[in-house]
């Protein structure tokens, strides 16, 4: 049979993601205008760059939407090996940003291999579940090989050093292992063995400890949390219920650092208020809700695991990013998918959504109607019933 999608794709996810991407144009423009003006002398500098990334993201989304996800099974091993190579390459010859080498540059185009590595790893784990079958419960045959991949990728990302990204990859991998029916015992052992490592890592750099301590100290008391989170909270508060209006943000004018990037959600909150933040959050909730639904209806375990992995990866990123901007979690450098300024996250997340949509098309969630009912027909969009005479 043709491996094109048989049924309709899940429109709600597509609309939610496209909405986020298009809205991000306005938000990032507003959030970056002052900074771009200051740095590049052109307030639209970053808007243009962001538009290109949104465009690339949409292309990636539609490409992967049309590729049968089952074909990916044969590619994930290659992808994860490529990811390791790229991460090594980044360490050796990557560009520095804020004290960490996270970027790999090919002439003028740079990207963060960690974003690619994240999906490559998660996808490969899903492939391994299928391959190993019942061996998955076995520590040596099933669990250990997967942990090797997870360990390599996580350590390489953390070595950049990009702790939050590494930790996120690790946590997401654990969630995927959990979904893949790995024994609880193994997961628990992994968690316990991580504790001393985590402690050593935390103590190895002063700024990490300080961030966490600042966060703990600032919590519950009136003492200001760290500057960036505090400014972010002020932005949300300043927005109130209805917001100060598009383009009227004050916090973006050098009060809130990274207002266009990891903290763009605060600008949403300031300009569009409670209404805006809840709308954005609602779109992510919709993605999660539909994502799980797709997983439930998927016709094979690989599709099911893949759908959950993608859904979790996107929503966890969104939730953790929102939590950081709202001061619930200590400041980390995680972008909000589809909204934050940044190409790698945009393109790879969009590609992942493309895969998810392809899975959705192969479920019976939105069946394509083949037979004409006796008294009428269902329209192509499956909504309107029209009488046939």
């Amino acid at each position: 049979m043709s491996l094109e999608h048989k049924n309709h794709i899940d429109l709600s996810i597509l609309i939610a993601v496209l909405s986020l991407m298009l809205l991000s144009l306005g938000v990032v423009y507003s959030a970056s205008a002052s900074y771009a003006q200051h740095r590049a002398g052109d307030s639209e500098h970053m808007l243009i760059s962001h538009s290109v990334k949104v465009f690339l993201g949409i292309i990636a989304l539609f490409i992967f939407m049309r590729v049968d996800y089952r074909r990916l099974q044969g590619l994930t091993k290659f992808a994860v090996v490529l990811a390791v190579v790229l991460l090594f390459g980044t360490l050796l010859l990557g560009g520095e940003a804020k004290g960490a080498t996270r970027w790999l540059r090919f002439s003028s185009i740079g990207f963060q291999p960690s974003e690619f590595a994240k999906y490559a790893l998660l996808f490969h784990l899903c492939t391994l579940f299928n391959k190993k079958g019942e061996d998955i419960k076995d520590f040596k045959k099933g669990f250990l090989p997967m942990m090797v991949w997870i360990g390599i990728i996580t350590l390489l990302v953390m070595a950049q050093p990009n702790f939050s990204m590494g930790a996120m990859i690790f946590i997401l991998s654990m969630i995927v292992l959990y979904i893949g029916n790995v024994r609880f015992k193994h997961l628990f052992l992994t968690f316990v063995s991580m504790l001393p490592l985590l402690t050593i890592y935390m103590l190895s750099a002063e700024y990490r400890l300080k961030r966490v301590m600042d966060f703990i100290n600032g919590f519950g008391s009136d003492a200001k949390p760290d500057y960036q989170a505090w400014q972010s909270i002020l932005g949300f508060g300043n927005g109130g219920i209805f917001g100060v209006g598009p383009g009227e943000s004050k916090q973006r004018d050098f009060f809130l650092p990274e207002s266009y990037g990891d903290f763009v959600f605060s600008i949403v909150g300031e300009e569009y208020g409670f209404i805006g933040t809840i709308f954005f959050l609602g779109l992510f909730f919709l993605i999660m809700y539909r994502g799980f639904k797709i997983a439930k209806h998927s016709t094979d375990p690989f599709g099911r695991n893949l759908a959950i992995s993608i859904t979790i990866a996107i929503t966890m990123y969104a939730l953790i990013n929102a939590s950081v901007t709202l001061g619930i979690l200590p400041t980390t450098g995680l972008p909000m998918p589809f909204v934050s300024y940044g190409g790698s996250s945009m393109v790879f997340s969009a590609a992942a959504i493309g895969v998810l949509l392809n899975i959705s098309a192969q479920t019976d969630l939105h069946p394509r109607v083949r037979e004409i009912p006796l008294v009428g027909s269902i329209d192509a969009d499956g909504l309107n019933i029209r009488k046939v005479y």
Partner: protein
Amino acid sequence: MNENIEHTTPIFDVAKLKSNQFRVRLLRIAVGIFFIVVGLRIIHIQIVESEKYRKIAQKQYQSKVVLPSPRGILYDRNGNILASNATYVSFAADPMLAAEDAQAIAKKFSQAFGKHKNHYLNELKSESRFVWLERFVDAKYLNEIDLKKLNGVVVRREPKRLYFNDQIAGQLIGSTNIDNAGLAGIEKQFDVEFKGTDGYVVFQRDGLGRARPSVDYPRVEPKKGNNIYLTIDLKLQVIAEKALKKGIEDNKAEGGIIIVLQPRTGEILAIAQHPNINPNHFGKYEPDHQRLRAVTDLFEPGSVFKIVTASAALEHRLVKPDKMFYAENGLYSVPVTSKKSRKIVDTHKAEWITFQEAVETSSNIVMAKVSDIIGCERFYKMARDYGFGIATNIDFPGELNGMLKKPIDWWSTSLNTLSYGYEVGATPLQIACAYAAVANNGILMRPYILKKETDASNQIVRESQKQQIRSVISSETAEVLTGLFEGAVERGTGTLAKIQGIRIAGKTGTSKKYVEGQYEKGNYVASFIGFFPAEDPKIVCLVMIDKPQAGAYYGGTVSAPIFKAIAEQIINTTDVLSRTKNVLAKKIDHVPSVKSKSDTFNSSAGIVPDVRGQSLRRAIEILKMGMFEPVVEGSGIVITQVPEAGTYATKGMKISLICQPKQSTVLSLNR
């Protein structure tokens, strides 16, 4: 379709599927909880606590800068400026913006102001976004400190009171405090009128501390305060002060007060006081010298109080000027009890004299005898009607009521004592007003000092009207009294006040000062009060000299000559007398010899030229040619001058020039 599914889908292990569904459901719940937590936090920040955060955010990006309103200008009755505003500057800084240049700023300010560098560095370490570096300093520092090179330093122009005539009318004008609020004198009395309304501007700043250029800042311009025109005549004030100064030097006196007022209206034309003060440095002086003693201090009037005795006697037709009294040859023993008696002494010993002569020679003995005829009630009522014991209600702060006991509280001797001016406390203004009533056909007028109030565009807001208080004596009595007082100047104790060709009515007074329970020897107040021309009085002038120590201490010898000097000046150099009646000018013409020797000050006047738009150098040349003294502020082109061009000003008067460089580079918050 079915075959496809079978082909591609491995068979689900039922047990595995179940456990898996459980795991997924758990994960969904966990993620759902995460959504709820984030949602609750959003509600907390954006709805519950929104207001709190909004205020903090606002504080970050907004700053309100007050634009001080300039006080209204104080003029004399002819529009001469007594007090105006000079622009001083204050330097402030935004420590955040200034951080990079902190060292340079501290060094520059340290050089300019002589304070230690660390003083400024400490200020610049402040957490706040606004610190004062220097407040109210001369505008010349703007030239020394190049703000273009110092990031984060801002300048605020501050209007501050400038008193143009230094010592002239210092206590009268009073002063303002550092916040430009009235502290004393006229400045305090009309503080509300002068004040105006401060404006403000709200600045929005970005996180780098830069003003946001594209935003329309809410800006409220300061509203200038109203102008006050006093009834004071600067020329007469100067005449009075010069004469007072000379009189005090001649008599080695401790102090003195002169009041000049217009009897027909009650307008105060001049109030001089010595020691005088300069309101520009008001705080430097002793509180005792800051008061305007003419309204805030009580004196025992002595013989000048005989106006009450004479008025009561004449008004009630108890005595006629030619009635004879025995003056006891200068020593009169009044029995108090059967054993004790009390002595009343006259300087001019006499036997039988008329009442007229008694007034002219200021006989205490005759006055005491007359008071017995008048009786307590009638005497008290007359004193009260003249306004003794009641504040005159002049528009000036801190006025005293005076002290006049009721007859029920009197001793048996009080009536006699009161008849020549003891056992009563009066402000110099009350005495002056009583004589003004005689000069005004017996009608007491309320004294006042505010002529008019105008708004910033010089439209009249209010104008004082003359105000009758009561008719104290009939105009016939007033005429007779004036005759008696004329006699005192013509032949009696006040002959040193006599000016040929002009009828002057006056009365001398010499009172011992009551210090710490007894009348101190050698501590006198010598006074003279008179008005002229007697046929149509235009001027009432009171001269009181405190503690003369050059030998002479009588009012007739100490104060009368000062009165004369003032009267001569007024007649010769002003148009006060001719302003309303040309007849008088003729009279003065008959007296060509009248020329004061004490005419040492130059009060001839000139018109202030217009130097606006001129270069500073040229402006100074022009002003010096006109015998004015330029006071320069800033450099470059003259943009404002005070007083304005065309104003009538005395020579040597200071003309304040406010200049600006051709291209202003200063961030001026006070447009």
